[in-house]
């Protein structure tokens, strides 16, 4: 089986919010952080990362600021806003409920029906 899973539709936004909730990150940093947390099991299209970041910033869930990277380059850092924090919370709850439900359904045994 493939070591990398394809990303479910719409979950990228949630992952980005989670990633920047742990501390401000630049775009590449977001990518690395997600890969790190997922222990390299998730493949993210690099090109699709930035439109997602721009969309989230447009919604007001993350905010950006220029700063210096570890190797002294100018980089744009994203951080979670208050609205983004709330959003992440609701998304997480929703996801958990969903996952629980689906797991429940898939785990149903014959005698339980």
């Amino acid at each position: 089986m493939d070591k990398q899973l394809d990303l479910l539709q719409g979950t990228l936004d949630m992952l980005i919010l989670k990633a920047v909730s742990l501390g401000p990150l630049h775009g590449y940093g977001v990518l690395l952080r997600i890969q790190q947390i997922s222990r390299d099991r998730l493949e993210i299209q690099q090109g699709s990362l930035y439109p997602a970041l721009y969309r989230l910033e447009h919604q007001g869930w993350i905010a950006s600021e220029w700063g210096e990277s570890e190797n002294n380059r100018k980089a744009k850092y994203y951080r979670l806003t208050a609205a983004g924090k709330k959003r992440l919370q609701t998304e997480t709850d929703k996801w958990n409920r969903m996952a629980e439900m689906i797991a429940g359904i898939l785990g149903t045994k014959r005698e339980e029906v």
């Binding site: 775009g27 690099q46 090109g47 699709s48 447009h58 919604q59 007001g60 869930w61 190797n71 980089a75």
Partner: protein, 914 residues
């Protein structure tokens, strides 16, 4: 909150576009370089690392575009691009653009004109403060519901009773009264004598209405206090016409109705609040609570609802008060009644406006016209949609290429909608120009038709213009057209397969069978809609023709009617009695002699009614030996009456000069009366018994008249009602107060000369009315249908023109698609004639289908016109036949040019063409 931040982010991104671009560049570059650095650290060679980093990142430009999309900055970009595109499209297809814009402009313009009339008459008819809450209290006589005169009658109250309503009601913010009855007065400024229509108003009336005076001031409450110096106020028309707009007359003293009064103000032209034709207003002097004055005329009432009070609540409240009043003065009220408070607009243009004989339901008419103009707009829209669709088919290849190159469907639809928006905005502006001209024309003709001089005050305070609500409506209509017109071609784009257009011959003809059908459907719908409009207008036209060609029994052409009113110096003796007295007869005879001597006057007759609208049903009559009696109208006149009105004598003789001079009890009866009592027998020589006949003097008593002749029926309740039984009597036995002048010149040119001659005989004489007889018919009977015709006929004309354009464009387009096919047919030996026939048959199929559907729809819809149509069946075969023939002819005419173009196709050219 996110909405806000989105807008902020959009504005920032749009305004600081270049900043965003450089930041985006920097950010992506940083990503790739950092990634490359990481790769180098993992042991990849530097140049190799950069290449791999770029490769794994994917399309940088695409990512950027998606980022821009996320920020919605493309919106402005796309829009400017689309606008530029649309402008280029319009510029390169001037014919298409002109037809589309003109068609839409006609549709939008017509809508705007009709809406201007609709809005300004129904919602903006009064210049008063808070005009929407103005109401007119009215009474419904419960015993008369459903009868011809069973309509709501405006409530009139004596001023003392008005005080009661004012004090006891809970629903009105203000209640004022005005008395117009018997309201013609003589006025004299020392140099010259004038006669004015005057209304006496309660002194709070002008402050209630709250329209500032043009010059000086209106009536104020203090003018009504006993002892206040007597004043009056004048309307602007009289000031302009009679006093040449002389500002110096304000403050001048006049003798009005025998009393010195100061003119304190001129009202603006948009003020005609108290009485339809009143020229001056005089405040009533009285203190509230004064008891009833004997012989005082009751006042008409205008009130303003407190805000938030409904008409029903007001009606209920008023009903209680009136019942208490009716218990005190039972003679003033019908036996069983309900009080109804009507909005002032309804009182003006609603079904009850105009009274029983002069009924005109303008409100209903306005809604009908609005519906008609919406149909017209639909026709215009379908025309333009068809044009755009044909245009879109031609552009199919272009669109297919753009799709293949990655344009999203959404983007293409946006572009097409922008194109139709540009068309619509241009058309909207042009439509406003049309509407401006249209409203000017209607505004100029409205007073001429509705004539404020006689009862109808429609339009007196209305200015038909393009005010803000009207302009907004026009813009709304334009926006609607974008949706309707733009949608069809936009849906066309949504078709899934592009392949045929890219590989095909570049001519969409063969592939567009489905859309050919769709376009044909649109044309059929268009024809059907225009059938509805044309039959509606046709019925109105027929009805108007029938109405104006009703046999009145007399000839109203070149007749001037002069009615005398009792002057004050004669103690208000009714004119009927005065002119029957020996002294009055002398005055009348001298006036008649002087008028007969006027150049341009060929006959003068004395009589006592407005021919066509009188006499109303009078006393019971019967004949000896008859078992029944009936109410008949009595018309008092002299020997000249027959000649003056050109009545047609069928039996016996007319009244002789001796009959009149010696007051003989003889009568000429009309055919209806003769047949009611004598059947086919000859009534001449018989007797006519009139019960309680009221002569000029003495108590009423039963009287016999000898019948000397019979005339053809004469209309007496307006042209629309059947003729009533009438007896013509010598005016010397009953009294007369009106003159009819048969003229050889235009009758209204004589009014001034007539007044001079009358005043030369008696300076105190008041001419209550001096008007061509034809004007009565015009204003009382023809005005409303003429008004509707004036608006609906151009609408129908425009719709016909649009349909011709619609059929033409569809046929021309389909011929251009068939060029190849026609070429093959001709190469195989088809004759020009058969090609011509083929195209015409194709057109005829569309037209016939449209006509059939249109006839069904018209048949179903025409009943809504019932209140506007008189004397013609709603399914009048002549109208329907005429409309069908007209559409058929016009439609085939529109097919002819494309058909001839098809027939003249050169097969060689057509086959090589591709």
């Amino acid at each position: 909150m996110t909405g806000w931040s989105q807008i902020r982010s959009w504005i920032r991104a749009t305004l600081r576009r270049s900043d965003m671009e450089t930041e985006m560049d920097a950010e992506l570059r940083f990503h790739i370089e950092d990634y490359a650095d990481d790769l180098v650290q993992n042991g990849v060679a530097r140049e190799d690392a950069m290449r791999r980093a770029r490769l794994e990142f994917g399309g940088v430009e695409r990512a950027k575009e998606e980022c821009r999309e996320a920020r919605r900055v493309n919106l402005v970009d796309n829009l400017t691009q689309d606008l530029r595109y649309a402008a280029r499209m319009m510029h390169t297809n001037p014919g298409f653009t002109a037809v589309a814009v003109l068609t839409l402009a006609l549709g939008i313009g017509s809508c705007t004109v009709v809406f201007s009339v609709f809005y300004n008459l129904l919602f903006n008819a009064f210049s008063a403060r808070d005009a929407s809450r103005l109401v007119v209290p009215a009474l419904q006589d419960a015993d008369n519901v459903g009868k011809a005169d069973g309509n709501l009658e405006p409530l009139t109250l004596h001023l003392a009773d008005l005080d009661v309503v004012r004090e006891q009601n809970q629903v009105f913010e203000g209640v004022v009264g005005y008395i117009t009855a018997g309201g013609i007065v003589l006025a004299n400024d020392g140099a010259q004598q004038y006669q004015f229509y005057a209304a006496r108003v309660t002194s709070d009336a002008f402050e209630f209405y709250a329209v500032p005076a043009l010059l000086g001031r209106g009536v104020v409450t203090d003018d009504g206090k006993p002892g206040a110096s007597p004043v009056f106020v004048m309307n602007s028309k009289t000031w302009k016409d009679t006093f040449k707009s002389d500002p110096g007359i304000v403050g001048k003293s006049f003798t009005v109705d025998g009393e010195p009064r100061t003119l304190v103000g001129i009202m603006p032209s948009k003020f005609q609040a108290f009485g339809p034709q009143e020229q001056i207003w005089i405040p009533v002097t009285r203190t509230s609570g004064t008891p009833r004055v004997a012989g005082e005329f009751p006042a008409e009432i205008l009130a303003r609802l407190k805000s938030g009070v409904s008409l029903n609540a007001a009606s209920a409240d008023l009903d209680l008060i009136l019942r208490r009043l009716a218990a005190l003065h039972p003679d003033d009220f019908p036996k069983h009644f309900t009080a109804r408070v009507e909005s002032a607009t309804d009182a003006l243009v609603g079904p009850s406006g105009g009274g029983p004989i002069f009924q005109s339901d303008i409100k209903h008419l306005l809604y009908d016209l609005l519906a008609a103009v919406m149909l017209l707009l639909l026709i215009a829209c379908s025309n333009v949609a068809n044009l755009l669709l044909a245009h879109a088919s031609v552009r199919e290849k272009e669109i297919a290429v753009r799709c293949a190159l990655g344009a999203t469907r959404r983007r293409l639809i946006e572009q097409l909608l922008v194109e139709s928006s540009v068309l619509a905005v241009t058309a909207c502006l042009l439509g406003y120009a049309f509407a401006w001209i249209g409203t000017k024309i209607i505004a100029a003709m409205l007073p001429q038709i509705m004539g404020a001089s006689l009862g109808s005050r429609i339009g007196a305070e209305t200015s038909l213009g393009l005010n803000l609500p009207v302009l907004l409506f026009g813009a709304g209509v334009a926006a609607l057209t974008v949706l309707i017109c733009g949608l069809a071609p936009a849906l066309h784009v949504l078709r899934p397969d592009l392949q045929p257009h890219l590989t095909g011959p570049g001519n969409a003809g063969d592939g567009s069978f489905r859309h050919g059908k769709f376009r044909a459907g649109v044309v059929i719908a268009e024809i059907a809609l225009s059938i509805v409009l044309l039959t509606g207008a046709g019925l109105m036209m027929r009805s108007f023709f029938v109405l104006t060609h009703v046999d009145l029994g007399f000839n109203p052409e070149n007749v001037l009617l002069v009615v005398f009113l009792p002057p004050p110096s004669h103690g208000r003796t009714p004119a009927v009695q005065r002119f029957a007295s020996p002294q009055g007869q002398l005055v009348l005879r001298e006036v008649v002699e002087r008028l007969e001597a006027l150049p341009g006057v060929s006959e003068v007759a004395i009589e006592d009614t407005i021919p066509g609208y009188g006499p109303t049903r009078g006393p019971e009559i019967t004949v000896p030996g008859a078992t029944h009696s009936e109410e008949a109208g009595l018309l008092a006149c002299d020997e000249n009456f027959l000649r003056t009105l050109e009545l047609r004598l069928t039996r016996g003789r007319w009244l002789s000069p001796e009959d009149v001079q010696t007051s003989q009890y003889v009568a000429v009866i009309n055919k209806r009366l003769a047949s009611d009592f004598f059947g086919d027998a000859n009534p001449v020589g018989g007797q006519l018994k009139v019960k309680s006949f009221k002569g000029p003097t003495g108590p009423p008593q039963d009287t016999s008249f000898q019948i000397v002749g019979v005339v053809e029926d004469v209309k007496s309740v307006g042209p629309q009602q059947p003729a009533m039984p009438i007896a013509f009597l010598p005016y010397t036995v009953r009294g007369g107060f009106a003159l009819l002048l048969k003229t050889t010149v235009k009758p209204d040119s004589l009014t001034h000369a007539v007044q001079e001659q009358v005043w030369a005989v008696d300076r105190d004489e008041i001419i209550g009315l001096s008007s061509p007889l034809k004007d009565f018919l015009q204003k009382n009977t023809y005005a409303t249908p003429e008004f509707s015709l004036m608006i609906s006929a151009p609408l129908a004309g425009i719709s016909l023109a649009l349909v011709v354009v619609g059929i033409f464009s569809v046929m021309a387009y389909s011929v251009s698609l068939q060029t190849h096919e026609i070429g093959i047919r001709m190469a195989l030996g088809a004759q020009r004639k058969s090609i011509l026939e083929m195209i015409l048959a194709k057109g005829a199929r569309l037209i016939v289908a449209g006509i059939v559907i249109g006839l069904f729809v018209s048949y179903a819809l025409m009943r809504f016109l019932a209140s506007q149509i008189w004397g013609v069946s709603l399914t009048d075969p002549w109208t329907f036949g005429g409309v069908v023939a007209l559409i058929m002819l016009a439609g085939l005419g529109a097919c002819l040019l494309p058909a001839r173009r098809a027939a003249s196709v050169d097969p060689m050219v057509a086959l090589r063409y591709e």
